[in-house]
Amino acid sequence: MSAAVNIPPQFEIVDQPLDTQMTISMGPQHPSTHGVLRLELVLDGEMVVKATPDIGYLHTGMEKLFEYRKYQQGIVITDRMDYLNPLGNNLAYVMAVEKLLQLEIPERAQTIRVLFCELQRIASHLVWLGTHALDIGAMTVFFYAFREREKILNLIEAASGGRLTPSYFRIGGLMMDVPAGFERRVQQFLNDFPHAVKEFHTLVTGNRIFQKRTQGIGYISATDAIDWGLSGPSLRGSGIDVDVRRTNPYCGYETYDFEVPVEQDCDVWARYMVRMREMTESHRIVVQALARLKPGPVKADAPKVVLPDREAMKTHMDALIHHFLIVAEGFDVPAGEVYHAIEGSKGELGVYIKSIGGPKPARVHFRGPSFVNLSALPHIARGEMIADVVAIIGSLDIVLGEIDR
C-alpha cells in the first residue's frame, strides 16, 4: 500500500475491472513492430476490435529526392528502402530505367542478377524467420538464421563492397564482375544451406507451441487477399498461385526450373510454410544460375550510358569523354513512362518512372509490397487476440523503410 501513497493526486486510481473498450498505443518503440510502426489498438478485454496502423515515422522523402538526382544516383536511394532486400530494389529500379532506354543486358549480367536476387531473397527470409520466431517466443532460431544470413552478406560484400547497401546492379549491367574464386564461395554456401534449412524445420516447424501460435491465426481468404492487394508469400499463403517471376518473367526466369510454393490454409502458418519452401526453391535457382555462369561481358554495349572500364579510360580518348559526360551531366533518357514489377522477397515490387527527357526522372514511385501488405492488417487483426497481432505482423514480413520511404 505504500506505493499507492506516492501517486500524485491528479491520477485516478482504478481498482475495478474495466467493462468498456480500451484504446492502447502499440509502438513505435515496440520491438515486434519491426521498426517504427505504431498501432492504435481498440481492445475489448484481450480481443482486438480495431487496429489502425500509424506510419510515416521513417518518411524521408525518397521519392522527392529521386527527382533531384540523376538516374544513376537514384540506385543508391533504392538500397535504403527495403533494407533487407536491397538488390531486389536495385533490380526493379535499373530494369525500369533500362526499359525506358531499351537496353540489351548481356547474358552473364542477367545470370548474376538472378543469382544475387535469389541469395538476397534467402537472406531476407532468414531475417523474417529469425524475427518472426523471436516475436512468438522462440529465441534460438534467431541465431541460427543470422548465422546463415551472414554467409550471404559476405558473398554480397565480396562482389559489391557493401553488405546492406550494395548498389551492385547498375543501369546497363553490373557495377563490376564478381571476384575470382566467387563461384567456389557460393558453392560452399549452397552445400551448407540444405542442412541449415533442416535445422530450422527441427527448431520451429515441429514445435507445438509455434504451431499453436500460428495455425488458424490471422485468417484472410483468397478473395479478400486479392481485394486488399496482398502479394508475394502473403498472397500465396491464401492459395493464390501468382508470382511475378512466372506471370511476367524478367531476367530470364522463365528458363529456370523452380516451383512456386502455394499453401491453402490462409493463416500465419500457411504464410510461414510458403516462405520456408521458397528458401529451398531459391536455393534451387541459385544452383542453376551458378551452373550457367559463362565468361562474358557484364555491361551493356552502350557507351553513353554505361561507365567505361578504367583501363579503357587510360588509353581511349572517347572513353574518357563519355566518362566525364556521364558523371558530370548524366545521360538523357527519352520521354515516356514505365511500370516495372519484379517479385521482391515480400511481394510485387513495382517501380513507376516517368521521364520527360533529360538526365533526371520527373517522377519515381515505388509500389512497396510491405506498404500494401500492412494496409490489410486492420482487416486481418480484427477479432484476434492482442498477443496474436504480433504473430500477424511477423507473418506479413513488413519493412518500415519501404513503407515510409
Binding site: 506510419i55 492487394g229 511476367n248 511500370y339 513495382g350 509500389r367
Partner: protein
C-alpha cells in the same frame, strides 16, 4: 472464389496481350462498351495507357474488374504525378491494374486540374486503394471523393503543403527550427 488457383502456365503462349503493336484488347473492350470512357490510348514500351475521364474512373475500374476475359481483379498501385505549377491540367493519377488469372497489366490515367483536384475514389472496387489514395492525397493534394478515411498517411497531420508537388522545395519552405 472463382479466381482461385489460376494455371501458372497460361494456355496462351503470349503472356502479355498488351505487348506489341496490335491494339490493346482492354482498350477495345472499353471503347465497345462505352466510347465516352476512353479519351486516348497510348501504347509504348510494351505497356498500354488508357486515359479515362475522371468522372468515369470508378465505373471503368468496376467494369474492368467484373468483365470476363479482362478480370483486372488486382490493383497494383495508384500514384500521382505533378506536371508543374503552370501546366494545365496539372495532375495525373495513374492506376496500375493486374489480373491474377489472365496475368496482364494495364495503366489507367486520369488528369485533373489544380483548381478542381477531385477524383472519384476506387475504394469501392478494391479495398487496397485506400492507402494508395491516402498517399496520393498526402503528397499531391488530389482529393478522392467518397474515400472512407481520407487523411494524411506519411506526413504528420499538421503538415503544410503537399510535398511531391513540383513547387514544393526539396528542403521545405523554411529552415528547420526548434522554436
Amino acid at each position: 472464389m472463382e479466381q482461385q488457383n489460376p494455371q501458372a502456365n497460361a494456355p496462351e503462349t503470349q503472356t502479355n496481350p498488351d505487348a506489341g503493336t496490335t491494339p490493346s484488347p482492354t482498350a477495345t473492350a472499353l471503347q465497345r462498351q462505352n466510347a465516352a470512357w476512353v479519351v486516348e490510348v497510348v501504347q509504348s514500351l510494351g505497356e498500354t495507357t488508357i486515359i479515362v475521364p475522371r468522372e468515369h474512373i470508378a465505373t471503368v475500374c468496376g467494369f474492368l474488374k467484373a468483365t470476363p476475359g479482362l478480370e483486372f481483379n488486382f490493383l497494383s498501385d495508384v500514384c500521382g504525378f505533378d506536371r508543374g505549377p503552370e501546366a494545365e491540367p496539372r495532375f495525373e493519377v495513374n492506376y496500375h491494374l493486374f489480373s491474377t488469372t489472365k496475368h496482364h497489366r494495364v495503366r489507367l490515367k486520369v488528369v485533373v486540374d489544380e483548381n478542381d483536384a477531385h477524383v472519384p475514389s476506387v475504394t469501392g472496387v478494391w479495398r487496397t486503394a485506400n492507402w494508395h489514395e491516402r498517399e496520393t492525397y498526402d503528397l499531391f493534394g488530389v482529393i478522392f471523393d467518397d474515400h472512407p478515411d481520407l487523411r494524411r498517411i506519411l506526413l504528420p497531420d499538421d503538415w503544410q503543403g503537399h510535398a511531391l508537388r513540383k513547387d514544393f522545395p526539396l528542403r521545405g519552405y523554411e529552415p528547420y527550427s526548434l522554436e
